[in-house]
């Protein structure tokens, strides 16, 4: 059962405030994913206090540290069910978990952060891991 939208709204805004586009429908997801060029980060947001509470600030810190993906999008697990299911279909080889993060380069999944690598960590630790992946995959080539 989805949470009260009033509870979730600040968690949505935590992502949109740092440049993420919310994908609310399967059509939104397809539209975002069909643009194959460059790099894209998709964050599966979540209410879960054990992990998402550190995932969102972790993403923010990572984006402040170094190279950024060309495009940023987010879906909300347990809330926007259709959009989440469609987003997961683009990284179907990964077991579903939330929160989680999927980094794409030219339409290919190049890095995935499952929930268990977020939970119990600090925002700084989450940021460090993600920033490394962004450095590896999103830095401009000489």
């Amino acid at each position: 059962m989805p949470y009260d939208p009033r509870i979730v709204q600040p968690m949505r805004e935590e992502m949109t405030a740092i440049g993420f586009t919310e994908l609310l429908t399967a059509q939104d997801v397809d539209g975002f994913m069909n643009e194959k060029g460059g790099t894209a980060l998709v964050v599966v947001n979540s209410v879960c206090g054990c992990a998402a509470g550190m995932a969102r600030p972790g993403v923010r810190l990572a984006l402040q540290q170094g190279p950024k993906p060309d495009r940023l999008a987010t879906v909300f697990a347990g809330q926007d069910l259709e959009a989440v299911a469609r987003a997961r279909s683009y990284f179907a080889e990964m077991p579903p978990s939330s929160p989680s993060m999927a980094l794409f380069r030219d339409g290919e999944l190049v890095h995935f952060v499952p929930r268990h690598l977020i939970e119990g960590r600090t925002a700084e630790q989450v940021a460090g891991d993600l920033a490394s992946a962004l450095e590896e995959n999103c830095a401009p080539t000489a």
Partner: protein
């Protein structure tokens, strides 16, 4: 399973931001529960107390099934996560050899 500590891992509560602090320090955390027998379970810890561990949304493996050891199963799960096979499991602590956050398992 050398990567798994015999002791029950402890994490600082203030880093987790859980909503159910009465369920133990691992509430909400994905853990590997190794047993004294052939089975190993990986799932979200709902509760860990002095009698039992309760897991939700878990996967399980038995030593040697599909040609995989428990260690191989755990190592693979540490890389990508698990595919949920069961909704819930209550395991008496007497059958538990260790409880370790999956995020602490080395993937090397």
């Amino acid at each position: 399973m050398p990567a798994l500590s015999k002791r029950i891992a402890r994490r600082p509560l203030d880093l987790m931001g859980t909503f159910h602090s009465d369920k133990g320090e691992l509430h909400g955390i994905t853990v590997v529960v190794d047993t004294t027998g052939d089975s190993v379970y990986i799932g979200r810890c709902w509760e860990l107390n002095d009698r039992e561990v309760v897991l939700l949304d878990l996967d399980e493996h038995e030593e040697g099934r599909d040609g995989r050891s428990k260690q191989e199963f755990v190592r693979q799960a540490a890389k990508v996560g698990i595919w949920k096979k069961r909704d819930r499991l209550v395991l008496p602590l007497a059958e538990v050899a260790s409880v370790t956050p999956l995020g602490q398992i080395s993937t090397d």
